[in-house]
């Protein structure tokens, strides 16, 4: 009985040591993977910053104005002016399709109450 207990303990210690060893290496692998990903993120962010800066530089108002001037014949872009605001009641209604019927210009209300049960 006593020797069995000793053997079982020894086996358990070996098993735990093996488990700890494996966990250790797995953790290290995961850490280096995480570091790699972090580096990738850092690189991506850095690239994003550069791209953002370039985007802002390409969209600087001075350049857009020059481009609008250069392409005036094609695009006809001008600064926004107050006259360009419209009102919804200035828009005409689309023409009514007649489909062979005459337009009803003088409608009369007709009740059909008595036809209903």
């Amino acid at each position: 009985m006593r020797s069995l207990f000793v053997v079982l303990t020894a086996v358990a210690v070996i098993a735990l040591a093996f488990w700890a060893y494996r966990e250790n290496y797995e953790t290290q692998a995961a850490q280096s993977e995480a570091q790699g990903i972090q580096n990738d993120i850092a690189g991506a962010r850095q690239r994003l910053r550069v791209l953002n800066a370039e985007w802002a530089y390409l969209n600087r108002p001075q350049r857009l104005r020059d481009l609008a001037d250069l392409n005036f014949e094609k695009l006809g872009l001008l600064p926004l002016r107050p006259e360009q605001f419209g009102k919804i009641d200035q828009v005409t209604f689309p023409p009514v399709e007649l489909n062979g019927h005459l337009p009803i210009t003088n409608p009369v209300d007709v009740s059909n109450m008595e036809q209903q049960p």
Binding site: A30, Q31, S32, A34, Q35, Q38, I41, A42, R45, Q46, R49, V50, N52, A53, A56, Y57, N59, R60, P61, Q62, R65, P79, L80, R81, P82, E83, Q84, F85
Partner: protein, 595 residues
């Protein structure tokens, strides 16, 4: 365990036979047993103590060993932390109110040399001068062949330049990474941005520090690593700023002015939507401050914040508003503006020595009569006038979030006499910046509460202290509207946007004192729109403008600042999302009185 009996029969019988007391044997045996028990207990206790001692020793040894290890290890960055992922930029971005970038960082390289590692210094110096024409070949050669072990050649170089320096193939030329501040929009809002430069420098990194403007004001906030990924959002609007700077620049050229400034302010939140000062500079390449001449002529000088000028008749509305607020007059009170008006031994004159005769208060503002406002100011008195102007912020710097704002404290008269009261009522004798004026007009425009201009985006109104009643503010607005429809600012009308405002033309004081220039003026137009429900205040100021389309050169605000301000409103109001509206008609026959 076999217990020895306390009274062994053999010995008892023996003792009895000898006539001894058998109890002595029992006591003797009991004593022996007790001694044996005591020895055993002591032994056990000793062994326990030993185990405990070993245990304590081990524990302390572990702690001590760990401390020693910690004390001797090299510090290393945590490898698996999530928090670190955001912090990469040294300095936070600055964006406008819609999130468009105004300032950001850019990776670049610096170029330095270690001459003792150089192989062909002569050839290298020649090649470097070919790449960077601003370097001097003799100077480089002297440095490369002399005793120096280290020298900076360029603080910032572009990728193309980096490549061409690489192609020289000289091992003594080395590159260090540099993060530099980039203002992608160039001159836009240059005075707000200010600029940045390098602080402490090493080969592998350099500090980027703000040197002026908002970069310096918020230097700590921008460099704070905990907020490195959070951009600083300003109240400026990039496209509106562009439009205003463009129109203002055109206006400055047409009016032959030395300089110009414009401020656009939201009257409820106090946000500065746009603030411009011309001439300007490129914050990417900030010029050095001038060592001689007048510092206010330098492009670095921010006219809208640092420039304190006597802003002329634009101040008249404050005197009128205060007189109405104190119920000394109403807008139809008749005041005699004919000469003479003598205060403190000085005669008060009018523009071109006109005589307007008898005018109502509204007409005094519309015609811009100095004597009329002077008489109102005398009724108000110096003490109350002082308090009123103080409550609108005319006694202190504006507190705008750029370092230069501290230099824009108004110039006040040393002694506030009756004469000062009269001259200040028409804008002479008190110098303030265009931004002060904009804040004062915002008070009128928002219904009478104090406004403190800010460059940071806000999302709710300021609700400052009340300076004047809402009714007074409304009356002042309607008078200002009439200045545009019938008075001196007739060119300022923009159909659909009901501009209200007041012109101001002030002669420039001579630099060395002793009176005013005859042919140099500061012209200002302070306006608000739309007049029936003001939302924005625009102040346009020109320095020494001359309008030359007529027979005589014209230097008044009505001919210079007003048309430019009108064009700015025409361009900017649609961008602000304001639709042109038909002005609601003034109710006729009903006069609002408060008695």
């Amino acid at each position: 365990m076999i217990r020895t009996p306390l009274r062994p029969l053999a010995r008892i019988l023996q003792a009895r036979a000898k006539g001894e007391n058998p109890d002595a044997i029992e006591r003797e045996n009991l004593r022996l047993r007790h001694e044996e028990q005591r020895d055993r207990a002591r032994k056990r206790a000793e062994s326990r103590l030993l185990v405990l001692g070993v245990f304590f020793f081990a524990a302390f040894a572990v702690i001590g060993g760990r401390m020693g290890v910690l004390a001797n290890t090299e510090p290393s960055e945590p490898r698996a932390s999530v928090a670190g992922a955001d912090i990469l930029a040294q300095r936070a971005d600055i964006v406008d109110r819609k999130g468009r970038i105004l300032a950001t960082n850019f990776e670049t390289h610096s170029l330095y040399a270690q001459p003792q590692q150089m192989i062909e210094p002569v050839k290298t110096a020649k090649a470097l001068v070919r790449i960077f024409p601003d370097l001097k070949e003799e100077r480089l050669l002297k440095d490369f062949t002399g005793k120096r072990k280290f020298l900076w050649i360029k603080k910032k170089i572009s990728p193309e330049q980096l490549q061409s320096v690489h192609e020289i193939g000289e091992p003594g030329l080395l590159f260090g990474p540099r993060e530099m501040r980039l203002y992608p929009n160039g001159n836009l809002a240059a005075h707000v941005m200010g600029g940045a430069s390098f602080g402490r420098e090493g080969v592998h990194a350099a500090e980027v520090i703000g040197v002026a403007g908002i970069e310096k004001f918020y230097d700590e906030r921008l460099r704070d690593p905990a907020k490195g990924h959070e951009p600083l959002q300003l109240s400026l609007d990039l496209s509106i700023q562009t439009a205003i700077e463009r129109v203002l620049y055109g206006g400055m050229k047409i009016m032959n002015a030395k300089g110009a400034a414009a401020v656009l302010l939201d009257v409820h939140t106090g946000e500065v939507i746009s603030i411009a000062s011309l001439p300007d500079f490129d914050p990417n390449n900030r010029p050095r401050p001038p060592t001689k001449g007048n510092p206010s002529d330098s492009p670095l000088f921010n006219r809208s914040v640092q420039g304190v000028y006597e802003l002329g008749s634009t101040f008249k509305i404050f005197a009128a508003a205060q007189a109405i607020d104190l119920q000394l007059v109403n807008q139809n009170t008749v005041i005699d503006t004919s000469p003479p008006l003598k205060v403190g031994g000085r005669k008060i004159g009018e523009f071109k020595n006109k005589n307007y005769g008898v005018l109502t208060v509204a007409d005094i503002i519309i015609q811009s009569s100095n004597r009329g406002t002077g008489r109102m100011a005398l009724k108000i008195g110096p003490k109350r006038q002082k308090e009123f102007l103080k409550s609108m912020g005319f006694f202190e710097a504006t507190g705008l979030e750029i370092v230069e704002a501290k230099g824009g404290a108004p110039l006040l008269p040393k002694r506030w006499t009756d004469l000062s009261t009269v001259t200040i009522s028409y804008g002479h004798g008190l110098s303030s910046s265009p931004l002060h004026l904009a804040a004062g007009y915002a008070t009128i425009a928002n219904g009478g509460t104090r406004i403190r201009p800010t460059l940071l985006k806000r999302d709710k109104p300021q609700y400052g202290e009340r300076v004047m009643s809402e009714q007074t503010a409304k009356t002042a607005q309607s008078m200002l509207r009439k200045v545009v429809t019938e008075g001196t600012a007739s060119m300022g009308d923009v159909p659909g946007y009901a501009v209200a405002g007041k012109t101001g033309t002030a002669d420039k004081p001579k630099e060395r004192g002793g009176g005013y220039h005859k042919d140099k003026t500061i012209t200002t137009f302070a306006s608000m729109f739309p007049a029936h429900k003001p939302q924005y205040v625009l102040v346009v100021t020109f320095d020494e403008p001359v309008e030359t389309s007529g027979k005589k050169p014209r230097r008044t605000a009505g001919w210079t600042a007003v048309p430019v301000a009108a064009e700015i409103i025409r361009r900017v109001a649609p961008l602000l999302g304001l639709r042109p509206q038909i002005e609601p008609p003034v109710l006729s026959g009903i006069t609002l009185t408060s008695n």
